[in-house]
């Protein structure tokens, strides 16, 4: 619990003493027909860390966008350090001392690490770029964050976590007075999160004000001085950290008590069944080295490991997204050619639900029902002509199964919440059943209420006789879902845990994953688990 931070004013406009770091009053934002923010008033004291939490679509990211100068509110006023904020002008906001670190990476792949950190605010002397000055500052920041990214490396060669680190360095290098973090830790492994929090605390000592949006409530309670809960575009409750418990936060976010997560549903399939999918020696240059994996009907196999361990690469290789990958594959005991394209994989019975819903999963401009029936439009057509009625009734069936309002199957996917979008994406493979479903980060960016539903949905799909492989950064989920867990580290399998033998624990996964990380330099001495 941070001490000495009097931020009692959060949510209570007007305070005695100096100007507030943020004083937003009755901010309203309308997007087309929907109200994203309705009369939101938020205050933040200078030198405090303020967390914004809420379910998806509650308005917290929009509010952050208003402060960052990226979003122009429909009505309302915002003062920053006593001066009115210039709306919709990120450059002026920057000059007012505001820096924003966004959830979506804004890294330029072809520029060096240093150039990315100093993007738009190059250090110059007499009009000339001061490469030396920037490099020194870069190394200084690296040391603070305890990362070792070579300054000259092109950003495209860096992992997502390292790119996120660059993003954070960019935010703090300018010595801004107010720094906004939009879900900064989703891509980071625990040690990296820790060093980020350490630097946030140091910045706070120096008087910097920070606002952090996060879905991770433990994290919020760990770092923040005050917490504001958003619900349906309004401030549901704002109070200092000391007045919150995790349970209170969840209740404030969803408006009622969360049902305790059901204990792990046991493996639904037959114990000794022959594997549905059996892949051996899966390799991908620079990412995977000779991984063996099996899934039986009705079984969920979790993949554990840190960011960059090859979790996603393994799924992509199995689903035909990595033409350079190699290995042998058998489906239902019969050897099939190694998938070189997603179509080959799908014809073999393997489908992938990608990590990034919006750019890889959904056609945002199409209706939910068209997205659900996309793998097989022919199934709702006769002689090549689609029947909207049959498409809708197929989609309604899927929606009923997945707890998605069946009357909204005609809605354009762009207008659905993250949780519903994910249900549509998973529903696609309920409509067109594969043999094996690979799911990458099924609950990323999804609010607490919908998360549990998604997990139940996956279990229900498995009960249909599907084999499922799940990758998640939330190791609790891997543990909760997985009948077996395969732990990867640096592209190799380092442990295989089976819930049938002993309950799987998060600690086991982390230990297995870290053991290898410590012996990074002597690869030969390692054996596969």
């Amino acid at each position: 619990m941070p001490e000495g931070m009097a931020s009692q004013t959060m949510g209570r406009p007007a305070s005695p003493g100096g100007p507030l770091a943020i004083d937003a009053r009755s901010v309203e934002k309308r997007f087309g027909g929907t109200l994203a923010l309705t009369g939101v008033s938020v205050c933040a004291e200078v030198g405090s860390i303020n967390a914004l939490v809420g379910e998806n679509g509650a308005g917290k990211s929009t509010f952050l966008g208003v402060i960052a100068g990226r979003v122009v509110p429909t009505t309302g006023s915002v003062s920053i350090f006593g001066n009115p904020l210039a709306f919709g002008n990120p450059r002026l906001s920057r000059q007012q001392g505001i820096a924003a670190i966004y959830q979506e990476l804004t890294i330029v792949p072809a520029l060096s690490a240093v150039a990315n950190v100093f993007l738009g605010q190059t250090v110059s002397r007499a009009g000339l770029l001061s490469e030396r000055g920037m490099c020194d500052r870069f190394l200084e920041l690296s040391a603070q964050l305890k990362v070792s990214i070579p300054p000259g490396i092109e950003a495209r060669h860096l992992s997502v976590a390292d790119q996120q680190m660059l993003e954070i360095m960019r935010g703090i290098q300018s010595r801004a007075r107010l720094i906004l973090f939009d879900e900064p830790t989703t891509a980071l492994a625990p040690p990296e999160r820790e060093s980020l929090f350490a630097i946030m605390r140091e910045l706070r000592r120096g008087g910097t004000t920070m606002v952090i949006v996060s879905h991770n409530l433990d994290e919020v309670l760990d770092i923040a001085d005050s917490v504001t809960v958003f619900r349906d575009g309004e401030v549901a409750h704002a109070a200092p950290r000391s007045e919150w418990t995790k349970r209170d936060l969840v209740r404030a976010m969803i408006g009622h008590d969360l049902v305790e997560p059901s204990s792990r549903t046991p493996f639904a399939g037959k114990a000794g069944a022959a594997p549905l999918l059996s892949a051996t020696g899966v390799s991908l240059p620079g990412a995977l080295e000779g991984i063996d994996i099996e899934v039986r009907p009705g079984e969920i196999v979790g993949i554990g490991g840190l960011v960059g361990s090859g979790r996603s690469s393994l799924l992509r290789a199995l689903s035909g997204f990595e033409p350079k990958s190699t290995g042998t594959l058998a489906i239902d005991g019969e050897a099939v050619p190694w998938p070189k394209t997603p179509r080959m994989a799908i014809l073999a019975g393997i489908a992938l639900v990608p990590e990034d819903r919006k750019t890889q999963g959904l056609v945002l401009g199409m209706s939910a029902m068209a997205n659900i029936t996309m793998p097989n439009f022919g199934g709702v057509a006769s002689l090549g002509v689609i029947s909207d009625r049959r498409m809708a009734s197929s989609a309604r069936g899927v929606a009923r199964d997945f707890g998605f309002d069946e009357n909204r199957v005609g809605t354009t996917v762009r207008n659905l919440s993250g949780g519903n979008q994910q249900k549509v994406l998973l529903g696609r493979w309920r409509y067109s059943l594969p043999k094996v479903l690979l799911v990458d980060e099924p609950t990323r960016g999804i609010d607490v209420g919908a998360k549990e539903e998604i997990l139940v949905t996956l279990r229900r799909l498995a009960a249909q006789g599907l084999g499922i492989i799940v990758v998640s950064s939330e190791l609790e989920e891997v543990v909760q879902m997985g009948d077996r867990v395969l732990v990867l580290s640096e592209g190799r399998a380092v442990a295989r845990l089976d819930a049938a033998h002993a309950p799987i624990k998060v600690k086991d996964i982390l230990e297995a994953a870290f053991k290898v990380a410590k012996h990074d330099h002597d690869r030969d001495g390692l054996s596969r688990g």
Binding site: G32, G365, M374, F377, N407, N415
Partner: protein, 325 residues
């Protein structure tokens, strides 16, 4: 995308409904306004003979625009339509006498399809940006048209050669009938068929379509073949209309067809649009040209106006999108 009934939970105010109607059907209102204003400026605008006249004139480019709509909804772009148009005109004119009209027409379709396959291959397999790819192939196909015709106009002696462009059926030119059929078939395929829906999917999100197991390269490539065949047909109709095949016939076709498609409101970014929108765009351009011609405005001024309208239409599309998201 076809207009899906959105069962949105929150009731919208009348003002918002009108706003949404305006955004979605803005070009329909623009057309109505144009017709009203145009009738004052040029009283003969809505007479049967005038309508028959301007529809007949715009049939070739209208047919090209239908193919272009498929390409653009699929997320592509085709600048080579003018060259294929010209190739269609000269091949049709040169083969009409020796092979007969039907065989000549068949050869044009095959040649145009071959050009489309080349475009599709370069865009999907060699992964060249469609803008550059079709700019290049357009130059090459255009060159072939000149080489094939030895840069000279080709005038077939068979009078039947002119039927396609000038003969009438039930009071309307055959070319207009063909255009109407192309629009109806194209509109039906795009809005109702598995193929059409797949084109929307690849244009809206190629990765998502690929992950769903759609044959994205084949589908995208096929739009270029369709576009090329429409261009070949358009070229034949113009050659027939003018009783001559000439290699310089398609010089303004690409810009005109693109103008028609984007004015209708089909997005340059792919995944959104419709054939009925292209029909609206065609009527706007055709009526505008008709009014200018009646006022004896020089084609040079018309070029300036057309170019301005295209840019304005695209800017409007970008603005309307920004309001939605």
């Amino acid at each position: 995308m076809t207009t899906t009934a959105t069962a949105s939970p929150e009731a919208k105010t009348t003002g918002q409904k009108i706003g949404a109607l305006f955004l979605q059907y803005g070009m329909v209102w623009a057309l109505i306004l144009l017709v009203i204003v145009g009738s004052f400026v040029y009283p003969r605008l809505l007479t049967f003979i005038n309508i028959r006249n301007f529809l007949g004139q715009s049939a070739p480019v209208g047919i090209v625009a239908v193919g272009m709509t498929f390409v653009m909804i699929g997320g592509g772009f085709d600048l080579s339509v003018g060259a294929i148009f010209a190739l269609g005109a000269v091949v049709f004119a040169s083969l009409a006498d020796p092979l007969g009209l039907w065989v000549a027409g068949l050869v044009v379709f095959l040649a145009a399809a071959a050009c489309g396959v080349v475009n599709g291959f370069i865009v999907t397999k060699l992964k060249v940006n469609p803008f550059v790819a079709t700019l290049g192939t357009g130059s090459a196909f255009g060159g072939l048209a000149y080489i094939y015709s030895r840069s000279a106009p080709i005038t077939p002696s068979d009078y039947a050669f002119q039927d396609l462009g000038t003969e009438r059926w039930l009071g309307w030119p055959i070319s207009v009938w063909i255009m109407v059929v192309v629009f109806l078939v194209g509109g039906f395929v795009l809005a109702k068929s598995v193929y059409g829906r797949s084109i929307y999917a690849i244009g809206g999100n190629n990765e998502a379509a690929r992950l769903s197991g759609l044959r994205v390269d084949l589908l995208r490539g096929s739009t270029y073949v369709l576009s090329a065949m429409c261009s070949g047909l358009g070229g034949m109709i113009l050659a027939s209309r003018l009783a001559v095949g000439q290699a310089d016939m398609g010089s303004t076709i690409a810009l005109d067809a693109i103008a028609i498609v984007v004015i209708g409101g089909t997005s340059l970014l792919g995944g959104e649009g419709a054939i009925w929108r292209t029909a609206i765009g065609l009527l706007i351009i055709a009526i505008l040209t008709n009014i200018f011609d009646s006022l004896a405005v020089s084609t040079n001024y018309q070029l300036v106006v057309k170019g301005t309208i295209v840019v304005a239409a695209v800017a409007w599309d970008v603005y309307a999108r920004s309001l939605r998201t």
